[in-house]
């Protein structure tokens, strides 16, 4: 008798299991950085180059779109970094978040392009560089890769870090993108 009762209980459970769960809530991915733009303007204003790394759907899904650039030889450019979350409508400017927490962030510029160098052009309250604003100088014609890294919680006062040497910076990497650069 008990068994029959139990079987009927199981059957009703099987019926119960035919229902679906509710639609999951799609999270609001406000922390995502989809886009990094490095805008370079030559000092005389004659050349403006935009290096762009864009991955709208985040880590999975479609591959990112990278826009590389060609720079003029022996020229000084002022560089500005902009970070965006383009999943939001309109696009959210993440640069502001970095500015608010500038003591916890630093960009690093490394290049394999001969003669190309990047210097910091900004500082946080403690006088350590951030890298949102920079000065890029090219040498003679060359090819190579410019990589831009954003570190969260770096040790800014470690040896070489404020000169742009990433080696002793510790912290963790929030952004790391590479651009192919041609100087001509």
């Amino acid at each position: 008798m008990k068994k029959i009762l139990l079987f009927s209980l199981f059957t009703s459970l099987l019926v119960l299991s035919s229902c679906d769960n509710d639609d999951p809530d799609i999270p609001n991915e406000e922390e995502v950085i989809t886009t990094l733009v490095y805008t370079l303007a030559s000092s005389d204003g004659s050349d403006v180059v935009e290096l762009r790394f864009e991955d709208l759907d985040g880590e999975g899904g479609d591959a990112p779109v990278v826009t590389n650039g060609t720079l003029q030889a022996n020229t000084t450019y002022s560089g500005v970094l902009t970070l965006l979350n383009e999943q939001e409508e309109p696009a959210e400017n993440i640069t502001e978040e970095i500015e608010e927490e500038d003591e916890e962030h630093q960009f690093f510029f490394e290049s394999t392009v001969s003669g190309l160098s990047v210097a910091y052009n900004d500082a946080d309250a403690d006088g350590f560089p951030i890298g949102l604003s920079s000065v890029l100088t090219t040498g003679d014609a060359a090819d190579g890769v410019l990589s831009i890294t954003l570190k969260h919680d770096p040790v800014k006062d470690a040896s070489g870090v404020s000169d742009g040497d990433i080696t002793n910076s510790a912290g963790e990497i929030d952004i790391e993108v590479d651009f192919n650069i041609t100087v001509e």
Partner: protein, 770 residues
């Protein structure tokens, strides 16, 4: 040795004639739930006596109505007496438990359940309390063939003969633990101090239990409530130097009339751990656990018990192991001391950290038809809430990056009948429903989707004894229905639903031959099936701790496992026991995370991609335990476990297979130490132990970011003292682990990329039974 006594009395309804009454009973060993033979029972006032047989059974016939004093005694125990008022035919169920003041016997941290055909090892209550600072996995590691998959010091999963996570069922109080078992860095949410008994079945199939095991199973059980009408209990406290950890456990129980109750609570607070040469910052743990147990006999044939437990923990994860991408990992690998290491101790737990709550409610009813057949009905509800916190930008560190709520409902109906011809028949029906939901507060695409899972199962299991042979034959069928609602990885985000239905069959055939208790040979064969788990099918995203992108695979099929074990036991019935178990497991379509050739570019850098794929795997090994006892004074133990795993399709070794290891200990007992005429100490035990863990030499270089760490040797000592203070039995323990402060890293600790394992730890403990 004293023993506590639990008994349940059943009397038949047949009215008996005077002086034709029978008094029968079964005696079992509370530690292992197996019958206890050779217990002598004396009817004190009648001067009649008998001894239990190998089923723990005894009987007295032709007794008159009246009151009888029964005196139970067992080898090495102080006799204990109970009183029975006999008015009709009566059956007693007794279990003899070894209480804290029974410490004249040696504490064996691992013993075998001799009655089981499949190899079963037990950690006793005393063993658990002596190691109160250990989590569940640490407790289980004392058993040969069990290793731990760790993430630092606070997070540990048991690995039994190479099986863990989705492949290892952990049965908490008869209910299969339902949480986020899939995660490598998710500990089982169980307090071993709230449980009183831990069992590991290193078998070929656990047919009675629901859950996706491939033969092995971990069983966590609280003791039944002692049938003592006065309020009593026990308490224990420990302090450990490494992490400056403190832990307090208190158990109280009472049986009044037909109702018994027991309350058991634990508080633990451990701060930053220390490796041999530096602090491991942010590796503290805090726990607060409570369990309430009630037992009630409604009538002679209907028994109810209720169990509710809550487990709550916060676990810090080493700050220096939180990395951004592969470049960070390379930096960390080349750095001897992890980043963010400070010369400052703290109890504070900050991000990255985990906060987990697990609650269990269980109602169980035992319904006896008669003495040889009964039903068991169980209803259980589990609530599991897991939140994980990472370092985040823009003040979001306080918002979890993973926030999962899992509710589950378990129903079970079992029937057991013991036939006169030594045939034991068990059957049962089980149903389990899981509702798993992501909390969207994270602001991150979830790693695993929301899902519903319904499992329904039926089993039949028979065991029979024919002379010196024990035989076991069983079969189980499960149906699993999964309904997952995933979120697309491409834009626009949309919901994709999947429904899967799986049929799983398991079967076991085993036998054991017992030659005069000296030699025992057992051979078991099992076939088990495991359908792919939700994370293996649908997980997707960046796995921070290992710098990889993990991808589920919707095309996965069910795994099929064939396992054979051969057990050999030798016992010279005096001082020497040897136990050996060889096992061989072949898993068809073994699901594993396979590194892909692809390196995926993201704004956070390039990441290697890992995808769940299937192969044919072979896992085999040997577990050995040898014990030698010299005149009840000296105890020596030697344990060795060897294991290999091979990917047969690709001719590669399997990853995450434990290292081989060798453990030896020698213990000496001093009794009745006196100071003048005054007895200071009842017993003093001195133990020296040594563990050697071999290098995991089987892996190929390209299978990991860095070669497996070197082998290491850890030495330990333990002193324990049993003494009476103000007539109360106290036990003091003093342990030193990693005595030589060896600097080492362990292959199965996922933090080995970043930091050394724990340095020296000295643990002081005090226990009191009242």
């Amino acid at each position: 040795m004293l023993f506590s006594l639990l008994f349940i009395v059943f009397t038949s309804n047949v009215s008996a004639q005077t002086c034709n009454l029978s008094l029968q009973g079964y005696v079992e060993d509370e530690g292992v739930d197996s019958p206890l033979n050779a217990v002598s029972i004396l009817l004190v006032n009648k001067e009649m006596g008998t001894v239990t047989d190998k089923d723990g059974f005894f009987q007295f016939e032709k007794l008159c109505k009246g009151t009888y004093d029964l005196r139970f005694s067992h080898v090495g125990c102080t006799p204990k007496q109970i009183t029975v008022n006999l008015s009709k035919d009566t059956l007693l169920f007794l279990s003899l438990g070894h209480t804290i003041n029974t410490l004249e016997s040696v504490t064996i941290s691992e013993k075998s359940d001799n009655d089981a055909i499949q190899s079963t090892s037990v950690v006793s209550n005393q063993g658990i309390i002596d190691n109160a600072e250990e989590n569940l996995s640490g407790q289980l590691e004392k058993i040969t063939g069990v290793s731990i998959l760790k993430t630092g010091s606070g997070i540990a999963k048991p690995v039994v003969q190479g099986m863990f996570g989705n492949r290892l069922t952990i049965l908490n109080n008869g209910v299969s633990q339902s949480g986020q078992q899939w995660g490598y860095d998710h500990s089982p949410e169980i307090d071993p101090l709230v449980a009183n008994k831990l069992k590991v079945v290193k078998g070929v199939g656990a047919l009675e239990y629901m859950g996706s095991n491939l033969g092995n199973i971990v069983i966590v059980e609280p003791d039944r409530i002692e049938k003592e009408s006065f309020l009593h209990g026990r308490t224990s406290y420990f302090y450990e130097t490494n992490g400056r950890g403190n832990g307090l456990n208190l158990q109280l129980e009472q049986y009044s009339g037909l109702i018994g109750w027991k309350v058991n609570g634990t508080l633990k607070k451990i701060g930053d751990r220390k490796a041999a040469n530096y602090f491991l910052n942010n590796t503290g743990t805090q726990e607060a656990n409570l369990a309430v147990q009630l037992e009630m006999a409604v009538s002679e044939k209907v028994l109810f018990d209720f169990y509710a437990s809550t487990f709550n923990t916060s676990i810090g994860v080493l700050r220096g192991s939180h990395i951004g991408n592969l470049t960070d990992l390379e930096f960390a690998l080349n750095n001897e001391v992890p980043f963010f290491t400070e010369e400052k101790f703290s109890y504070k737990i900050e991000a990255p950290k985990q906060k987990v709550h697990h609650h269990l409610f269980k109602l169980h009813n035992k319904f006896f038809i008669d003495n040889s057949q009964w039903f068991d009905f169980t209803v259980a509800v589990q609530i599991n809430n897991r939140k994980e916190f990472d370092i985040r930008r823009g003040g979001r560190t306080k918002t979890p990056t993973l926030s999962l709520l899992q509710n589950s409902l378990f129903l079970e109906s079992k029937f057991q009948k013991n036939f006169d011809n030594d045939l034991q028949f068990k059957t049962g029906l089980q149903f389990n429903a899981i509702d798993n939901t992501n909390n969207p507060e994270t602001g991150i695409l979830p790693l695993i989707p929301d899902y519903l899972q319904y499992e329904s199962g039926i089993f039949i299991s028979n065991s029979k004894t024919i002379n010196a042979f024990d035989l076991e034959l069983g079969i189980r069928y499960d149906h699993t229905l999964q309904k997952a609602a995933t979120i697309s990885s491409t834009l626009p985000r949309r919901i994709i639903r999947y429904t899967n239905s799986y049929h799983n069959i398991s079967a076991v055939l085993g036998g054991k031959y017992n030659y005069e208790d000296r030699f025992k040979v057992s051979l078991s064969n099992g076939f088990t099936m495991r359908n792919p788990a939700i994370n293996e099918l649908y997980s997707g995203g960046l796995h921070q701790g290992v710098s990889g992108i993990e991808e589920g695979n919707i095309d996965l099929k069910t795994e099929n496992s064939f396992k054979t074990t051969l057990g050999l036991e030798y016992n010279d019935l005096k001082s020497l026991t040897l136990e050996s178990q060889l096992y061989f497991q072949y898993i068809n379509d073994y699901i594993f995370l396979n590194p892909q050739d692809e390196i995926r570019l993201t704004i956070r850098g390039a990441f290697p991609v890992f995808k769940y794929e299937q192969t044919n795997a072979m896992i085999y090994g040997w577990d050995f335990v040898g014990r030698y006892n010299f005149q009840n004074r000296l105890n020596a133990m030697l344990k060795y476990s060897y294991i290999r795993g091979e990917d047969r399709s690709d001719d590669l070794p399997l990853i995450n297979i434990p290292s081989n290891n060798l453990f030896a200990s020698v213990e000496y007992r001093f009794s009745n130490i006196k100071w003048g005429n005054k007895k200071l100490v009842n017993q003093l035990f001195v133990e020296i132990n040594n563990q050697y863990v071999f290098e995991q030499f089987q892996l190929n270089e390209e299978q990991d970011f860095v070669a497996p760490p070197k082998g290491y040797n850890l030495m330990g000592v333990k002193l324990s003292i049993n003494t009476n203070i103000a007539n109360l039995p106290f036990r003091f323990t003093f342990k030193a682990e990693n005595l030589l402060n060896e600097q080492y890293r362990d292959y199965l600790n996922r933090q080995r990329y970043f930091a050394d394992d724990l340095g020296r730890n000295i643990i002081l403990g005090v226990q009191l039974k009242f």
